[in-house]
Homo-oligomer: 332 residues x 2
């Protein structure tokens, strides 16, 4: 069933049918009704390929993310998807599998599909030379990074002031008397880098000496990050290492450390990051820094709309984090 057949059945021309489909006002209500009813009877829907061939757009955007199985990425994609669908856009999902190599490929793949924009979630921190090459090449699709930053022309970023948040947290704990704060991180994203720097900023500003022994890095590819973190901290406690606070770049890491702490019969502030469900699963419940991913996603989608409408959009927007207080740390 195509537009020609509908036109014949409705006794009008294909142009008129096309106008009805596209809500063109220049159609008599009589024709319009007739066409609509014929379309309904035959439950006809226009072929999107043919349509896209003309309009160069199918109201579809691509989302690029390392792994949708990761809770944080899943939340982000979920939020983006809802915002986008509310505005009539479909979502093409690409999981790159954390291999920076293929990011490049996927970028091409998506723009070959003629998506209207591409969102990147959980992207790497370094200035990817391939990405800039991509931006230079003919295929200019609006590129929007969520919870990350890349200083490239034509790339728009929405992020969270995680560095400041982390730094302030360190200062706050220092005022509470903490002098031996541990820091745990895993992935190598821009976001991870910000948190690390924030921690180091704080340590420095408090006049403390950085202690490499308390700066833990967990390989994000291990079977279980939680278990790995837990055993490292168990060893530290057994070795009698002095620790009076822990800050983690992600909740799952914080939970691992928390379990080790409880097992060691100790108790001090632990702060997670991303405010995921993990924070409420553990006991005691984990205080966590919320990076406001929902807000970020909304802004990202608004930014996309601005770009597509030709308005000039802000290329770097920063939202502020918010501490979700639970049992492992409470402000006075």
């Amino acid at each position: 069933m195509n537009i020609k057949e509908i036109a014949k059945l409705a006794g009008v021309s294909v142009a008129t049918v096309s106008r009805v489909i596209n809500n063109n006002p220049n159609v008599s209500s009589a024709s319009k009704e007739k066409v609509l009813s014929v379309m309904a009877e035959n439950n006809y829907t226009p072929n999107l390929f043919a349509r896209g061939l003309n309009t160069k757009s199918i109201n579809t955007v691509g989302i690029l993310c390392p792994d949708i199985g990761d809770v944080n990425h899943a939340r982000t994609v979920s939020s983006l998807e809802h915002s986008l669908r509310d505005r009539g856009y479909d979502v093409l999902l690409c999981c790159t599998g954390r291999q920076s190599k293929s990011t490049h490929e996927y970028l091409h793949l998506l723009s070959d599909k003629r998506v209207d924009a591409i969102f990147m979630v959980g992207c790497a921190g370094e200035e990817d030379p391939e990405l800039s090459e991509y931006q230079k090449s003919g295929k200019r699709v609006p590129l929007i990074i969520v919870n990350g930053y890349l200083d490239l022309p034509g790339v728009y970023c929405v992020l969270c002031d995680e560095r400041t948040a982390m730094c302030d947290m360190v200062k706050e704990l220092f005022e509470r008397g903490c002098r031996n704060m541990a820091f745990i991180e895993d992935s190598d994203t821009y976001s991870a880098y910000q948190k690390r720097q924030g921690f180091l900023d704080g340590i420095k500003l408090c006049g403390l000496a950085p202690n490499p022994k308390l700066h833990i890095r967990i390989d994000p590819f291990v079977q279980s990050e939680l278990f790995c973190t837990k055993s490292i901290f168990s060893q530290l406690f057994e070795a009698g290492e002095r620790i009076d606070a822990i800050l983690a770049a992600d909740d799952i890491l914080a939970v691992g450390a928390l379990q080790a702490m409880v097992q060691a019969g100790r108790s001090f502030p632990i702060i997670g990051f991303n405010n995921s469900e993990h924070a409420v699963c553990c006991t005691p419940a984990l205080t966590s820094m919320d990076n406001r991913i929902d807000v970020q996603c909304n802004i990202a989608v608004e930014t996309m709309l601005d770009i597509l409408q030709g308005k000039d959009a802000i290329d770097k927007l920063v939202v502020s984090a918010k501490l979700e207080e639970r049992e492992t740390y409470r402000r006075e």
Copy 2:
């Protein structure tokens, strides 16, 4: 840059270029090389719309799921996406938002996009009359349900024997001496129904009387299912209700109950379901029934390939669950 320009630059016809693009063997290696080099120089990629207009397929499948923010759905989609991409398929993601109404719409939306197949994740249990209507309507796209079952012609299902697994678990606990087992459930999916029936089967087979007070249903739309479950069980414990085992349809529910149990200073077997990360976040670590979603996804994709190749595929495939033993219950 289109096929015509490439043809001109390479000094051949569009037909030859098209053959090169599609790996048609009937091209001299000389022409082939020439065309390939011209394509590379101009980093040309064929327009997928024009292509789809002829071939009726763009190697894209749709995935329909209530909410990608849900950890279980996220894991499933992640697994499907990987399998599919390995085989050259892209993924169009649609989150229906748990509203059965819109499932119908999304189904149409996806087939309008001319996807090659549609996977449904976390779908409702009842025989959706709209779905069967959909299947009857002209738009016949292979429909594959993961971790669910719908007895409809042309619908293929992969699932887990959760009913048996749950039933066996009850029997096992009975033999261990448990006589007052509680059951917690939330959503209203096919999977949820199976678990509930499995529990009731087990209770009956053990000659126990069903206790409505210990059959807890949590509204899946509450702010926090975990917290809700926890407070319900706290109340039960305070009221002196006798409970000597808990089975939950999902880990997050089990964790809530677990926290209440620990707080009440009690200890008995708790079994979660889906073997998610939640199970290792809590203390004691949660024993959980794994529904082998990765295996299910692989099978689902294989099924899709069979269907698309015209082979006749199995329309109902059942994998068996596997208990992941942790601290809340260990087999002897």
